[in-house]
Amino acid sequence: MNSNALTYLLGTKMRNRLKEFFKKPIRLIYVVIVIALIVVTLVGGKSGAQDAGRTIRSFKELTAGLNILLISIFTITFYSGLNNGGSFFRMPDVNFLFPSPLNKRSILFYALIQQIGTSMLIGIFILFQYTMLHVTYNLSYFGLLLIFVVYSLTVFLSQTSAMFVYTLISDSDKKKRIAKTVLILVIASLAVYVGLNVLQSRDDIIGGLVKAVNGLPVLLFIFAGWLGGFAASVFAGNYIQAIVWLALCAAAFAAIVTAMSKSKRDYYEDVLSSTETLQSALMAVKDGVTPEAAPRVIKVGKTGLGKGQGASVFFYKHLLENRRASKIWLKPMSLTFIIMTVIFSIFMKKGGIIPAFSFSIYMMVFSVALGRFNRELTKPYIYLVPEPPIKKLGFALAETLPTELLESILVLVPVSVITSTDALTCMFLIISRVSFAALFLASSVAIERIWGSALSKVGGMLIYLLFDIVLCLPGIALAFILHYNEITIFNFTLTSALCTFVLNLPVAAIVLLSCKNVLQYAEI
């Protein structure tokens, strides 16, 4: 009876989700495009690699990178779960299932099954890395699938572990502090272990780093290390060892689920707060508001805007919001992107700065989309303030450029050092990157001007990506034309940076000027 109701619920939700694709064709189009892009990446990556006379790097670098990725994602998810419990549930589950006579073990299994799907969706970005991984490490399709599976499992198991630990510590702040301290100590010990190994092999830093990160102390890290060990064993053809790692994961998972379902304390209260937080975030997204990536407890510090009159107040408000959102001014997401790009450049060092630069531009597409300007458009004030629309638009956009300049410096200076790029080229790449930010902003404004809120979130993102590509084309095309005709200023990289900068800015300016009345013809 119990399982029948939950099976019915799961089945019906899945069926209705499929039906939604046909009711809202834009979602179907989005899925088709994503699948098409994955296929292009998989097929293109393989055929592209055949043409290139490439040097294949050590596979151990790949497994080391995978270990770092898995441990990072586990730590971030687990740490965040220690604050609020994390939750696999949605408000309807809380309202309908928790008070029902269904037994709590069945409800837990229902949530776990549901969560596996979500975790796999989170891991889809891995599939897009095929070209890079195949060219660099000769990774096969099976290898890519294996990485995708272990990544999704790590996400899932980190959430399950966080939920379990939270049920044990939620009644006491002291226990929460102890749990966080233990996690930090484990990570710090691993960092010290890796650091010492790197110091011992100063003549081959990357080699030392790779060896340490593939070492047993790292592989003993709960779930993330075990799954990394499982993947490495499969890649090495050591299937018995792979089974041991997998059995360890299965045993620990079974122990967690048994402990949660047999515990006298139920987990209902523990998941409630995070479910409510998730619900308000979902509601906000439904209302067109992107939730602010702000700390849980905001440190107010100095109060007051202090400056600005009329339209310019939006600029000063954005500066204040940036200060409150992060101690280091940058959004946490931007910081993650910077670290990812720097790590990427270490492994792609031989390819020069262009791959890392392109990667940072790709990441910027998303950071600009979630920037202050797009958030401002979801509140009525920018439309209501009695100032000329073009002035409001200018000041609302103004914060993005210094922020992106800072981000560009933080990402491209270390990347230039790693890839031995000269200072002048680095400087031109920085200004080129800022010009791409202007372009992506122009793209957001154009979409707002044409469609307003008439687009769904998915459709909006799809069109935004399409607009970004189209607007980037003139600069990239000019760079290719000059390269084809062997016209270079100093070097190829600097010439390409100059081309994109020279064309991106006027393209952005034309788009912005043609949409100057976007705030007058709102649609929110």
Partner: protein, 237 residues
């Protein structure tokens, strides 16, 4: 005053507002009542310039999208419009600067009146829904608009705040403001309205003037249920 002439708003094939015309005079309180999905919030968003529409809307003779009109209109949205990272007091400083208002202490007066002064250093993110709604109301009143549009203003407010807001409605009316209030809760508007428009399926099904005390007259509630429950509605006044 507020003047709405032949406004139609479509979302693709869906007609959210169909040829709506009405006006709210200075010193008048108009209410828009209707079931969920009747199109009340849509016409309000058209009036405040947040949606594109066909037709004409004027605020004291100015086109509603003009800078002059924006100076005169105030809007309290259904979802409180609060910045998560700004403190309560900074919200009012932001409005004061954006509207180029003098720093005359009116912000403090409003916060005290809505019992928010002790929360002045709290960020928007940490306010309850009711507090956010009160802050949203204070932000709207700060520039002393002559036309004010409230979209479901009483939802989430505590009894003290509801009482205070009703007093504010009366004061604004006495000062000559044109007030438009949208609600689907009939008992929340009681008898302080001058004219009520009953909306169904994107258009006005009836308009009733408040003629309290006249014998034989249907109450707003009676008229509303007669229309929404499908019985033939007699021509309203």
């Amino acid at each position: 005053m507020l003047k709405v002439e032949h406004v139609t708003k479509k979302y693709g094939k869906l007609v959210a507002n169909k040829d709506i015309s009405f006006s709210v005079d200075a010193g008048q309180i108009a209410v828009l009542v209707g079931p969920n999905g009747a199109g009340k919030s849509t016409i309000i968003k058209c009036i405040t310039g947040l949606l594109r529409f066909d037709g004409k809307i004027e605020i004291n003779g100015y086109d509603n999208k003009s800078v002059e009109a924006k100076r005169l209109i105030g809007y309290v949205p259904e979802m409180p419009a609060v910045y998560e990272l700004l403190t309560v007091e900074e919200h009012l400083e932001f409005i004061r600067r954006a509207y180029r208002l003098p720093d005359d202490g009116y912000d403090k007066y409003l916060l005290e009146r809505f019992e928010m002064w002790d929360k002045k250093d709290k960020p928007g993110k940490e306010l309850s829904k009711g507090m956010q709604q009160k802050l949203s109301i204070c932000c709207t009143l700060l520039h002393k608009p002559s036309v004010i549009v409230f979209d479901e203003p009483l939802i989430g407010l505590d009894p003290h705040a509801i009482k205070e807001l009703k007093t504010v409605f009366a004061e604004l009316k006495a000062q000559g403001c044109a007030i438009l209030i949208s609600t689907h809760m009939l008992d929340s508007v009681e008898n302080f309205w001058d004219v009520a428009h009953i909306m169904i399926d994107g258009s006005f099904a009836a308009t009733k003037f408040n003629t309290q005390g006249e014998t034989g007259e249907k109450t707003l509630e009676e008229l509303f249920f007669e229309i929404t429950e499908g019985k033939p509605a007699e021509a309203a006044e």
